[in-house]
Amino acid sequence: MAAMTNVLPAEATQAPGEEAAGSPRRAARRQRRGGLSRRWWGYLLLIAAGLAFILPLYVLVTTAFKSNADIYTWPMKWLPSELTWDNLVQAWELAPFGAFITNSVVVTAVGATVKVVLAVFTAYAFAFLPFPRKNLLFLVMLGALMVPGHVTLLVNYITIGNMGLINTYAGLILPGVASAFGTFLLRQHFLSLPSEVFEAAEVDGAGHLRKLFSFALPMSIPAIATVGLIAVIDEWNSFVWPLIITNSVNMRTLPIGLMYLKANDGLTSWGVLMSGTLIVVLPMLLVFLFAQRFIVTGLTGAAAGNGR
């Protein structure tokens, strides 16, 4: 098209009407003619990418229910010759998974809730409150987004240690509650909301809290759901911080609990380890399957700045 416009500028300016009528038909024909043959590589990529995600999950699930004879064999057996619950039972006996689940649920529920609440308030402040050096502060916060969590690990540990919170729920949760990513995502979303609504609310005498709870929040459900879900998954999967901040077995979370199953000298029993992993992964898999629609719309919407 570009070439044609260059050569025949006059005709091109007259063309739009004809173009608009012609193009859908032509596009449809193109699609009919070459649907599969033109897009086969797309499907191939899709299948390859799908396999890359599904295969490890398949191996995880089958290994959890395979007998040792089936696991330690080469070439690998894709279909277990018999299914056994032994691994799951053994995993449950080796480590107190009941306590791990309780801890994970407490940390995830409280941690994610506080994270979302803080992110909502901070984002509101960044989006709607006038205060000096707002942009600079925002830049600093964006900087925090770039700092890998492990850099602050030791400092956080010492701080929490001085507060006397090692091996407590507070110690587990506190350092993670400020979410730069959540704040960023929500701020961008809040900025995309129509300003007329808030002006009208102000005229009617609404304060900041009223504007936040009655206007900003109801219009931002997908974005908040996204931040919430990411927070839940983060907290649930978090490994390094819970590893160093907890000491005793009764305070461990699920991902740390897994290491009680991995033998560090000698032979790791993969069946048992995979059964444990299944216990850890399953809840998040379910959460994700039920909520992935929110995540997708929330992420694309909020990031593009017009997700409503």
């Binding site: 330690y72 080469w74 502060l137 701080t159 407590t168 000491n247 005793s248 077995v249 000298d265 032979l267």
Partner: protein, 462 residues
């Protein structure tokens, strides 16, 4: 700090009603942050310094007892055996309660211990690997144990050679607990089918010849390799470097580029890339059990687990020699931390004593497969019976006579093990030139060695 005082100073210029509130907020944040930040720069502990005890979980019936915290790297079945012994300890007396806190692997215990020293908390006993304890010794974190031995539990309670490894300047800092050496494991059925002798190869040269004879042998339609190499541990290479007449170091003087060390790594390169007899395995033990490889070197500590899992008859033997023998000792021992209070250290000694004597020591040795390192275990009929019943186990004990602790650089320089892992991985997977890889190690380690030299010379060498 800038982050906090900027909004404050900017606000001052504005002069509206909100400022005081903002200033108060900012000042509050500053005030809250100051003690936390000051805490980062903790002072080094003097001799009388006492650090706190890590918190944990004390069952109600033990609330009144003196609490001892033991940090351990052992998980899965070994952790169960340790806990059984601790339970027996709780039943044997009514003054001390010992809580085992687990961090998987020696590296994690080390990292956790280093962090907790910063936070001024220390456990009372810690399991440390044969290399990790040296670094805490250099930094004055360990308690000398000479003063604790008495007539009822003297130094002769431990195997002489193993106790010597934890002794510096005539004082004991680290007592042996879960010690091991590598063994050579081979698949008897495969050796028979290929027509190889029913024993471990005597020398590395013989091993290589056998590898060529095995070439082309298949099982279940897939090729079987002679050896799956381990890339995430240089322990086995420490052994073969000695076998070829080389070493990591002599004192703190590096010998990575000595003829023998280069020959040892060049041997591995040729074994993998010229003969195609070996490969870099993600989990060599699992591959051996699955029948993907015919031999491997693995810790004595894995003997019990492999015997349970293997579906075939396997044998063990001494590690191959070349110009010399090369068998490193490894595994873990127990140390008491200096910055615990006197009562805690006394109680910790009682725990250590209980674990190293009587039935506890025997149960630990039998249950884990670690070497018998205490007199209680060495002289026990049960351990002797097991060795007679299972000749593989006797091989492990016999090999002890030619085993020795790792070289000084590997023990005292924290960067040595990672640098060597990089080198062996480059050679095993990428087929890099052995000499060049070891030269890189030497240049990488030079500054690291200078860093520890003064401390080492003051506290170990002189």
């Amino acid at each position: 700090m800038h982050l906090l005082d900027r909004p404050q100073s900017a606000a001052r210029g504005l002069g509206s009603l909100n400022i005081t509130r903002r200033q108060a907020l900012a000042a509050g944040m500053l005030a809250a942050a100051a003690p936390l930040l000051a805490g980062c720069f903790g002072s080094g502990g003097g001799s009388g310094t006492v650090y706190g005890q890590p918190s944990g979980d004390v069952p109600a019936r033990f609330k009144k007892r003196q609490r001892v915290v033991l940090w351990s790297n052992w998980t899965a079945h070994n952790a169960e055996i340790l806990q059984k012994n601790i339970d027996a300890f709780h039943d044997s007396q009514d003054e001390i309660f010992c809580e085992v806190q687990i961090f998987e692997g020696y590296d994690n215990v080390e990292a956790k211990l280093a962090a907790s020293l910063q936070a001024k908390q220390v456990p009372d006993i810690s399991v440390m690997s044969d290399i990790v304890w040296n670094r805490f010794y250099l930094n004055d974190a360990l308690e000398p144990l000479n003063g604790y031995f008495d007539d009822s539990f003297g130094k002769d309670a431990f195997h002489e050679r193993f106790l010597a490894e934890g002794t510096v300047k005539d004082d004991v800092w680290w007592v042996p607990f879960g010690r091991s050496t590598p063994l050579f494991y081979f698949n008897r059925e495969m050796f028979a089918e290929v027509g190889l002798p029913n024993r471990a190869p005597k020398t590395f040269t013989e091993y290589r010849e056998w590898g060529r004879e095995l070439a082309g042998y298949t099982r279940n339609g897939t090729k079987v390799a002679m050896r799956g190499y381990r890339g995430n541990d240089d322990w086995y290479f420490q052994g073969s470097s000695w076998a070829f007449g080389g070493a990591y170091s002599d004192g703190l003087d590096m010998r990575f580029t000595s003829e023998g060390t280069v020959a040892a790594l060049e041997y591995d390169r040729a074994f993998i890339h010229d003969d195609k007899s070996g490969y870099l395995a993600a989990d060599p033990t699992a591959d051996f059990i699955a029948g993907a490889s015919a031999t491997m070197t693995e810790s004595t500590g894995a003997l019990t687990g492999i015997a349970d899992a293997a579906q075939f008859d396997f044998g063990v033997g001494f590690l191959p020699k070349e110009v010399e023998t090369g068998v490193p000792t490894g595994g873990g021992g127990l140390s008491i931390l200096r910055y615990a209070s006197e009562e805690r250290k006394r109680a910790a000694w009682e725990v250590l004593k209980f674990l190293s004597s009587g039935d506890a020591a025997v149960e630990w040795t039998l249950g884990t497969g670690y070497m018998p390192t205490t007199r209680a275990a060495l002289e026990s009929d049960k351990v002797k019976a097991k060795a007679t019943e299972n000749p593989n186990y006797q091989v492990a004990i016999d090999q002890l006579d030619i085993a020795k602790g790792p070289d000084v650089v590997r023990r005292f320089v924290p960067e040595a093990v990672p640098a060597m892992k990089d080198a062996i991985q480059a050679v095993y997977s990428g087929g890099s030139d052995a000499e060049r890889a070891l030269k890189t190690v030497q240049t990488t380690l030079e500054p690291a060695i200078e860093k520890v030299r003064a401390k080492y010379e003051a506290k170990v060498a002189s």
